[in-house]
Amino acid sequence: MKVDLTTRLAGLQLKNPVLTASGTFGFGEEYARFYDLALLGGITVKGITLEPRIGNPVPRIAETPSGILNAVGLENPGLEAFLSTYLPRLEKLKTAVIVNISGFSLEEYAKLAAALPENSCIAALEVNISCPNIKDGGMAFGTDPQSAGEVLAVTRKQTKLPLIAKLSPNVTDIVAIAKAVEENGADIISLINTLLGMRIDLDRGRPLLANTMGGLSGPAVRPVAVRMVYQVYQAVRLPIIGMGGISCWQDAVEFMLAGASAVSVGTANFINPLAPLEIINGLEAYCRQKGYHSVKELVGLAHRKEEPFDEEKR
């Protein structure tokens, strides 16, 4: 039996539902040494800003139980260098490219959206309103429904590319934010970005990260992410890209059952560069075993009211 892996998220058409997460995959080239990126549903590149950013001092990484804290601080070459240097190279990778954008003001988000070409390998823009690692802006937009909506509204005016709103988990009510971005022109919702956390070095008696606080990712955050995907799926009609700790196909299935139409693999790349490929293969095998003709059939299954899974009936 052939399983249909193709996935459609509003205007974003993917050959399969497995993407890589922004900030964990550079501009693709590092992992293109391990496998052909055309095998992926697509890649999300490092968050870019209008101006180049040198990012935070080191240490930027701290390990935690089944997770990591990072405080990279959005180091990136800036819009201009992205367009002149990185975009032509991305074009050669023959995969759907999602460009993650961050602004410090509404104007910056608008300028970024306007400058990114609609007729290139760029398949969608992911509007990052959730970066915890920069002093002002970033996460502030994503923690208040009104400003989250404003960012999406100004961005929407500048581009016809599908817009993905990337939500922050550092909020009391994720549903309120999801509804706000839905009402203001987002086509897709992705979640979660990292959870704000910190560690203290016992020898020095000081915060371990130079930036004091950082964003938690990896398997440790997965239950939080699954819960948020589940809640958002119930409340909005937009397709969801689920992420947060996905390391194997079982994790991906869990997100899809919760309501994600596609998934992103982040921190897991650092441990197993082949994780995204293994997840694609595992998803396919799981669907075949369960008798699903398409991965789409998994999406949101955990919400149904009738009797739970019964393998015998399939």
Binding site: G23, T24, F25, G26, E30, Y31, R33, F34, K46, I54, G55, P57, V58, P59, R60, I61, A62, E63, P65, S66, G67, I68, N70, V72, E75, G218, P219, S247, T267, N269, F270, I271, P273, L274
Partner: protein, 282 residues
């Protein structure tokens, strides 16, 4: 790049300092260069989550083997001590950009503590019939240096000078003091030589320094070398996540014509031109 390497030898060198030797056989030895490193998966679970970077200390292409040395410093390296000979390890590598290998002249290797490990690979890679190699190595005391590799230096028959904090071997104090007086001596004798033969003698033999050790020591080594006009390469260490240049977790700062720039220690390094590194950052 991603390889299952067979563990040929894994042994405790010194319980007091938690020093181990690990020999791996597989694909990595074929392309490994001195100064490069490998990123090891140390356990089967997600805690600890990340791989551990270890520099490649010896490369034996004929046997397809690399040797790593490590000191137990945290949970990751503690877990690594459990792996058994004949088992295999999941290894990413060889990674990073290593040392420049001089073809002639003089090479001075300056190590602080376990910073000697990556320098072994450079020492073995240079053609010592054409390059005069000397090692300067500082450590806590005689026992540490004996356990961490003095036998290798003797086996290779390389000239070395030691410095120990307690004076139990070599000069008492820091390796930087050895370096300073040695470069000073070289400089003075060259000047004397020059004035005696009025430039008619052999060309100055080109001297270069390669150093690895704690950051403070590398900074001091670089300052001494700059003062004497000697080129210096340093092997840096930083906390790593991906190890392949994708996460920007491991950067250092360098001076360039267009101002200070970040460089990824795992990708553009771990070896950098010491003169380019910005040692003091706010």
């Amino acid at each position: 790049m991603l390889s299952q390497e067979k563990i040929i030898c894994h042994r405790l060198l010194d319980p007091r300092y938690g020093l181990y030797q690990l020999v791996l056989r597989g694909k990595i030895a074929a392309t490994a260069q001195p100064g490069q490193f490998v990123h090891l998966k140390v356990g089967a679970t997600t805690d600890p989550l990340l791989r551990r970077p270890l520099s490649i200390a010896r490369i034996d292409r004929a046997r397809g083997e690399i040797t790593l040395f490590y000191r137990v410093v945290g949970r990751g390296t503690a877990l690594l001590t459990d792996v058994k000979e004949q088992e295999s390890l999941n290894v990413l590598g060889p990674l990073g950009k290593g040392f420049t290998k001089p073809a002639e002249g003089e090479l001075l290797l300056v190590a602080g503590g376990i910073g000697i490990f990556p320098l072994f690979s450079l020492l073995e890679a240079v053609d010592r019939s054409r390059v005069k190699v000397k090692v300067m190595w500082g450590g806590e005391n005689r026992q540490f240096l004996e356990s961490a590799g003095l036998p290798i230096l003797r086996e290779l028959g390389v000239e070395y000078e030691a410095a120990t904090l307690d004076g139990s071997l070599g000069q008492k104090g820091l390796v930087t003091a050895l370096l300073e007086s040695s470069l000073h001596r070289t400089r003075t004798s060259q000047e004397m030589h020059h004035s005696a033969v009025a430039g008619a003698g052999p060309k100055d033999s080109v001297l270069q320094v390669a150093a690895c050790g704690p950051r403070g020591m590398l900074k001091a080594v670089t300052e001494i070398c700059c003062r004497q006009g000697v080129p210096v390469e340093v092997c840096l260490e930083e906390r790593m996540a991906c190890g392949v240049g994708a996460c920007l977790g491991c950067v250092c700062t360098v001076k360039t014509a267009t101002g200070h720039k970040r460089r990824r220690v795992c990708a553009e390094g771990p070896v950098f031109d010491g003169r380019e590194v910005v040692w003091d950052e706010g």
